[in-house]
């Protein structure tokens, strides 16, 4: 049985690989859709403005639209670099 267990465990079942891949992909694709079409452009321009003052990477800015009842909330999340101090700006 020991040998058998060893071989069974060593090869991950393909269905569970499929499930993991799909969960990651679907979560990513869902986060991309539904938002207004101007979001990528808005994100790019905000990034450029902030870059005039602080050196940040593209992935340090995220813009998303959430729904709360009838309200649409535009959330802007900017991660500023660690030194001299790490802050997060939240805007609406």
């Amino acid at each position: 049985m020991g040998m058998l267990d060893y071989f069974m465990a060593s090869r991950k079942k393909s269905a569970s690989v499929a499930k993991e891949r799909l969960q990651i992909l679907v979560a990513h694709e869902r986060s991309q859709r539904g938002g207004p079409s101007y979001l990528p452009m808005l994100q790019k321009e905000i990034l450029e403005v902030i870059r005039k003052y602080v050196a940040i990477d593209p992935e340090d800015v995220s813009v998303s639209v959430d729904h709360e009842g009838q309200c649409e909330i535009l959330a802007l999340n900017v991660v500023l670099p660690d030194p001299p101090d790490r802050r997060q700006l939240h805007g609406v």
């Binding site: 393909s14 269905a15 499929a18 499930k19 799909l22 992909l25 694709e29 859709r33 539904g34």
Partner: protein, 269 residues
């Protein structure tokens, strides 16, 4: 109030037309006046699967263009008088289906029928959008396979954003998941996404599971909706799905591998 149901999937070859034929016949068998429309303009096939291909005179585009009236184009099913089929056009003009035209046809059908089943073409192009735009309910047909699940998720996003109900901020389309070509044996062996896996990823209420079945091909070979093959596993699975759709609570079947004897294992495929 008549209901418009779209049979959709995104991916091709997962069983939309088989499902449209079986599901519409199932609704008719339960006494509901049902019309089924083939939206696959240019690639008409529902008529063939339903066995009425030699009775097609006019099609949905003829009705939209006013070249025939609805009653001339509708084919009454010979096996069940509750069921009528509206075939797709063979035209190559993909935009022959206009939203205004489809709306007129649907509103005429609503007067006579309880359910209008729309067989969507594959993809997310014009024809698929037309099939889903006016839907009240959607059956998302999914195979337990990565590309089909991903495409189904994409279609769910489109149903929630590009349909009439979404645009007019009405109550959203009611979504139902139908898993087809399911192999309980392979799912149990970890070679195929299980029903729970697919449901967890898509998070849509499960309407039914249709097992991979030889009966499906045999039924389409002879132009019989598989639901009429009452002894077949696929036929029974579709009958269950229709009953659940109509509000009956039934346990899901065909989720566990069939127990086979020694002879079955040797001679069965």
């Amino acid at each position: 109030m008549a209901k418009v149901i779209v049979i959709t999937s995104g991916k091709g070859g997962v069983g939309k037309t088989t499902t449209s034929a079986a599901f519409s016949m199932g609704l008719a068998l339960q006494g509901h006046k049902t019309a089924v429309i083939d939206f696959d303009v240019g690639l008409r096939n529902l008529d063939l699967v339903m066995g009425c291909e030699r009775r097609v005179v006019y099609d949905v585009v003829n009705v939209i263009h006013g070249e025939a009236n609805l009653n001339q184009a509708l084919i009454r099913d010979k096996r069940n008088s509750n069921l009528s089929i509206l075939p797709a056009s063979q035209t190559r003009d993909k935009h022959a289906l206009t939203p205004e035209g489809v709306e007129v046809v649907l509103s005429q059908l609503r007067e006579e029928f309880d359910y209008i089943v729309c067989d969507s073409p594959a993809g997310i192009e014009h024809g698929a959008l037309m099939a889903m735009y006016f839907a009240d309910e959607a059956l998302v047909v999914t195979n337990p396979e990565v590309s089909s699940v991903r495409d189904s998720d994409r279609i769910l996003g489109i149903l929630a954003s590009k349909s009439r109900r979404a645009e007019q901020r009405l109550e959203p389309i009611r979504e139902h998941l139908l898993i087809t070509r399911y192999s309980p044996r392979r799912a149990k062996a970890g070679e195929m996404l299980s029903v729970e896996d697919v449901q967890e990823i898509l998070s849509v209420p499960l309407l039914g599971v249709v097992p991979e079945s030889q009966a499906v091909l045999q039924a389409s070979n002879t132009g019989v909706p598989v639901i009429l093959e009452e002894k077949s596993d696929a036929g029974q699975a579709y009958a269950d799905a229709v009953s659940r759709f109509l509000g009956e609570e039934l346990p899901h079947r065909f989720l566990e591998p069939e127990r086979r004897g020694l002879l079955g294992r040797i001679f069965g495929g």
